[in-house]
Symmetry: C2
Subunit: 282 residues, 2 copies
């Protein structure tokens, strides 16, 4: 996510399926794919015949710190060679190939990958060229098809985006849906006695301030206010904050009223003095 | 996905939550984010105070055809203004903020978004600056936090990747897990009578070819072969293909044997001729 750098004090998450990029055209995309792999805990990159040669400086720059993935990347002359050692392979494709193979989303592919890796079968995710994707011949070397729920009018995903989504689903599956952080531990709900004491404080202050203009509607207005606060699920700490806020509003009003009364008194005094001066003929 | 271009004959998928980019630094990232939005059916982009100004030529190039999203993008001076009209907002962040807000993954956020949009509450997904993310003050303007299951040692996602994953989960939720294509309609499993006829053909051919070297092991080997074909779930079409393949192997072998026999006959003939010549004293 933007705004969160590399933190070398934490263990680097590695493992998962191999990622095979077949004849990628741009170093930028290889680097961005490696970055996304690193973000989501994938580490094994295989590259088939990269168009710009290898190593590639742009790939290094765009990996944004995932150098270790690029340094350990393995090169192969074709997909057949790159798949050696693999037991099950997914071919990423946006186009129907008319082949009788299972078609899975990135989530289904991640679940299948997790199950196969757990039983010792190595898995590869295979991605094609930026412009033309995988050849049908290459798809036919794989066991299943991985595809994404894309806008049919605009289905051309960036190569690294495609790798990122597959890697994201891998991370989600491998962490069993766990997220890197949760909301802070929540205090328990306030005791109803404390909640009702707050209601008393608030309703008393509102009554004194003249908020309930009609005695007839006061009960229903009171219920509405209580409903607002009830659905907040307030904690003891929340109640302390709200008590303070109500008290400050009351004191602020009283302070304003005191200042206003003082100003009025001063103005009256001045008027008296002016009148006295006029009357004395100054 | 790579290798699948823009297809103007299909309807452009639009709608979903608004995407708000807060002070994005690079046009490339705005363009890549717009491309990912278009890929996964999001269309409403709001940009807060883009550093390089607006419009931005690099954004246009990197949108790779999602021009309409950039053209319709709205600019705002700050997040508060950009959120006007929104009822519920998610702040994307990789860092814990110690704020008592719900923390959801991209999948949970997509489900919540779908439910709120369905009941007429407009939703925004808010993404921060490339380097520094969202300020805590900005997160405090949002209802919930969206975060991803990242490698804690390498949590810095590219801005467009982050938008892409959120948009992907939106598309998944909005399409109820539907994928753009499925495996071709599968023919039903073959009739067992046809399957057994194939077994007869295969086992007969193997026997004739001398495959079963030991009469003792023949039954268990036969069972193993039947098991292989049983677990394939063969269709009538598959059986026709396999009958053909077995026949070709048999004929090929017979052909080879015939050629071998011919070669042997020719060699014998030549030997006879050579001997005849030697004997006639040439």
């Amino acid at each position: 996510m933007p705004g969160s750098g590399t933190d070398s004090t934490k263990p680097w998450t590695a493992g998962g399926p191999a990622v095979i990029l077949v004849e990628p055209q741009l170093g930028e995309n290889i680097g961005s794919a490696a970055r996304a792999m690193g973000n989501f805990g994938l580490s094994r990159l295989r590259i088939v015949n990269p168009r710009e040669g290898w190593p590639n400086e742009k790939a290094r720059i765009f990996s944004a710190g995932a150098d270790r993935i690029l340094e350990q990347a393995e090169l192969f002359p074709d997909l057949r060679a790159a798949l050696s050692g693999t037991r099950y392979a997914f071919a990423a494709t946006a186009r129907e190939r008319g082949m009788a193979k299972p078609v899975l989303g990135a989530d289904g592919a991640a679940a299948e990958t997790l199950a196969r890796l757990s039983s010792g079968e190595d898995v590869a995710l295979v991605f094609g060229r930026e412009r033309t994707g995988l050849y049908t011949e290459e798809v036919s070397l794989c066991d299943a098809i991985l595809t994404l729920p894309v806008n049919p009018a605009f289905a051309s995903l960036n190569l690294a985006t495609c790798v990122a989504v597959a890697a994201y689903e891998w991370s989600k599956a491998a962490s069993a849906g766990g997220l890197p952080f949760a909301p802070p531990d929540r205090s328990p709900l306030a005791d109803k006695a404390d909640l009702f004491a707050f209601f008393d404080h608030l309703e008393g202050a509102l009554e004194e301030a003249g908020f309930f203009r009609s005695a007839e509607k006061q009960p229903s207005t009171t219920r509405n206010i209580r409903n607002i606060f009830h659905r907040l699920g307030l904690t003891k700490q929340d109640l302390a904050t709200l008590h303070g806020a109500v008290a400050a509003l009351v004191e602020g009003r009283e302070g304003r009223e005191a200042r206003k009364a003082e100003n009025n008194a001063r103005a009256a005094q001045k008027a008296v003095e002016r009148r006295a001066r006029r009357e004395s003929g100054d």
